[in-house]
Amino acid sequence: MENVIEASNLTKHYGAIKAVDNINLQVRKGEFFGLLGPNGAGKSTTIRMLTSLTKPTSGIVKVTGRDCVTESLAVKQKIGVVSEVSNLYNEMSAWDNLMFVGELYGVERSVRVERAKRLLEVFQLYERRNDRVIGFSKGMKRRVRIAIALLHRPEVLFLDEPTSGLDVQSSRLIRSLVKGLNKEGMTIFLTTHYIDEADQLCDRVAIIRQGKIVVEDSPEKLKSSLQGEHIVEIAFDRNRSDIETLLRADPIVKDVTKEGDKYHVHTGRPSDVIKKMVQFAASNRLEIVSMSTKQPSLEDVFVKCTGLDAVQLERMELLRVVKASGQRG
């Protein structure tokens, strides 16, 4: 199957900082591809090079067979880009935002009117089409933004954190819409902090760390690469500061992470760990509130590849959202 995105030895320097380091990427036509990575890993720089917004320092990047540096306008005509921020003209209505961008992409008036009507109906915004977007919720703005990116019928849709900071209902609607677009044959390139989202949507994901792609495969294959590793999730009736240290002391325990009031015990021998947990609880006068075993998730693969744990990920996401709100507020 033909590749619609091809990046070879792609590198980007910002002064002394190497934001992207010699990466290679191929995305096939009709594929739903996810790029995952912690903050500052190089996701945004990569997406900016793929969308012709930034020139690479070295390497070649082609989208829909066109060179992103020498044929940037032709590339932009063939792609749709939805950035993390719902950058819309707040003083204009949803309809006028669509009409403006449609005209900017050279879509004929009669065609853009018809498509805008259809898109706003699909995105459940047609009734609000004449309202200024300044009064829209974050989820509604994001839907308008995605509609704008689709108006010129792009071959490839780039989505940068499409559901970040949205309520559950809006997130589910957007996920369902982009999944539908992919089923209709559109190639989708997604970056997200939500690992579950990538797991649900993507045919293939790549994990980027410090500007390098550390792993790339389908979510299921990545998860199966951790086979032989199980997680026993256990919660006790009391929190004691030394529990984690005591659990780690056992040689059959590979790692322990704490999530909320639960401990995740990583091991290759789950049944032995369960037995030991029961003994551990009895000898330390603790009561087990809940205990279950889990298969490794894509998040576990992410944590293993990036060296970040779930708490660090949550902190980083929270910090990012707070800073972003401050910047926009």
């Binding site: 930034t54 306008l73 005209e103 900017l104 050279g106 800073k323």
Partner: protein, 265 residues
Amino acid sequence: MANHSSSNLSRAFSDFVTRGVCIAKKDARIYYFKPQIVGFGILIPAFVYLSFSLGREIPPNLLIPGLVGMVSLFGASSIEAIAIPIERQTETWELLQIAPVSTLTIVFGKSLAGSAFGIMLSLITALGAVLLSGSTVTNPLMFVVAVIVGTFTFSALGMLVAAAAKDMPTANISLTALRLPMIFIGGVFMPIQALPLQLRVISYLTPLTYLVEALREAVAGPSIMFAIDAAVLLAWFIVLQSLAVLVLDKRSLTSRITIRSFLGK
């Protein structure tokens, strides 16, 4: 073969103009043609002019070019100095960057909006001044041509300052710092021949001088100097517009990483 490349060129030019006009219409709608903006666009230069000319006998052939020159300068250059920082702040600038339009098209579209606004204000001011003073403009066509070229130049000046400034206050201060000296040495209040030699030399380095001179020639009657003044203004427009494109291209590569670094992304 030649026909094919000529048709491609004509299509590229048509796209450039159509998409530039689309950006201009959007800017005009959002930033320019609002009653308070139009009011201030005429009132501020008019008040500045009156405060320096009241009590002095200024003949109409000096008054009309000076006043219209000043309105052109303020009207065409002011709004983009606000609009571009706002677009950067709300990140709608990126909406333009990801579209299949070159930076030159964006700058052209924005200059077009600034120029249209400046032309409208200048012609309203000129009409008012002619009616109030009872004087005439000998060559109205030359007058309009001078206003068009001048407002495009000042619009490009506003674009360049806004492109280079990091935020709205910096853009406004920088623009004011450029415009005020231009007004005093550009022949607005007195003919530049009346200026000391050193100031006269400096005045020939500012575009406002050439607009005021061109308008004076249109008011007084045809002169060969009009073509020279218009040509210099056109050259200023090309230089300022090209610099604005260069600065915007350069900044688009660095500003994003700064914003993203701040956001911790």
